[in-house]
């Protein structure tokens, strides 16, 4: 925590800002990319959202109060950016966000940056049927293997609530994959 405060000071000081931000990028670009990609599914969209996320982080780090960890604060920004992006995309296309998600999954097979087989597509289709929050929880827990405590800090849900949601999500996914 002490180290983190020192690091935030470096991010705010104009002299050390650039080096500190480079360090931030090195440490967090991969996990944040994966988090965003799991939500938006497509590489180009994930690239756009990741850029917006880092710009937001850079602009708002001065407002970071240190109430949560820098890591969860950045994950929150990335989550919001990704969800907002999807909402805007579905609005522009004039389709519901569910239809957009199904369409994106259908396009995955032809995606050059997707190297998956039938079971991976099935899993994505099963996830798409879950409510938004359950989707987030499942992806963060199963794919990214974040701890419940970390997810709790990012999403502001209790650990107990998260465990229940995850359990429910797993049950629904298993039922979907079994019947298809």
């Amino acid at each position: 925590m002490q180290e983190e405060q020192e690091f935030i000071k470096q991010l705010l000081n104009p002299k050390t800002q650039n080096n500190a931000f480079q360090q931030l990028l090195q440490d967090y670009q991969k996990p944040l990319y994966n988090h965003i990609r799991n939500i938006v599914l497509n590489h180009d969209d994930a690239d756009d959202v990741l850029q917006n996320t880092f710009i937001k982080i850079f602009q708002n780090v001065k407002n970071f109060k240190g109430e949560s960890k820098l890591f969860s604060w950045m994950y929150r920004i990335a989550t919001n950016e990704a969800l907002t992006f999807l909402k805007q995309k579905s609005k522009i296309s004039g389709i519901s966000s569910e239809t957009l998600q199904n369409k994106t999954i259908d396009n995955l097979e032809a995606d050059v940056f997707f190297d998956g087989n039938e079971i991976q597509i099935q899993l994505q289709k099963a996830i798409a049927l879950l409510p938004e929050k359950q989707q987030l929880i499942f992806k963060m827990k199963y794919f990214q293997e974040l701890k419940y405590e970390e997810i709790s800090e990012i999403l502001g849900t209790t650990v107990g609530g998260l465990k229940a949601s995850y359990h429910l999500a797993v049950k629904k996914i298993e039922a979907f994959v079994s019947s298809n």
Partner: protein, 137 residues
């Protein structure tokens, strides 16, 4: 139909890939894109808030004018000259009306206030054409 159990299966990866050297290039691209001179963000709400506050302040001040400056409403004391002019030129008050209002004491005051010198009387009488008539009467 085979029952699918997530925990019995080997972990299913997302299958998402990135272009080659994506992250190296991303860092470089990102560092170039950083806003150098950060634009000042003024939220519309804040602007509106100041506007509303200033309008409210002006209104309050405007409403307080009659309270703060009673002089404007209560300075109705009549200016003596104005009153005199009014009575002389504007009204149909005649001297009898005035006399009826005056107390005996006031009349005495007026009498003592008018000191007529003998010479003035003489001058007046000599210029007065009716003097002879008056004497003959």
């Amino acid at each position: 139909m085979k029952t699918f159990k997530l925990e019995n299966e080997p972990k299913i990866e997302t299958g998402f890939k990135t272009p080659e050297h994506y992250f190296e290039n991303f860092s470089i691209k990102m560092m170039e894109q950083l806003p150098t001179d950060e634009p000042k963000v003024i939220s519309i709400f804040q602007k509106r808030k100041t506007l509303i506050l200033s309008v409210a302040a002006v209104l309050i001040l405007a409403l307080m004018i009659p309270i703060l400056s009673p002089s404007s409403t209560n300075t109705q004391e009549l200016d003596a000259v104005a009153l005199e002019n009014y009575i002389t030129y504007q009204s149909n008050v005649n001297q009898y009306d005035l006399i009826s209002v005056l107390e005996t004491e006031d009349i005495n005051n007026i009498k003592t206030g008018i000191v007529i010198e003998d010479e003035a009387i003489e001058d007046h009488l000599s210029t007065n054409s009716n003097l002879e008539n008056l004497i003959s009467e």
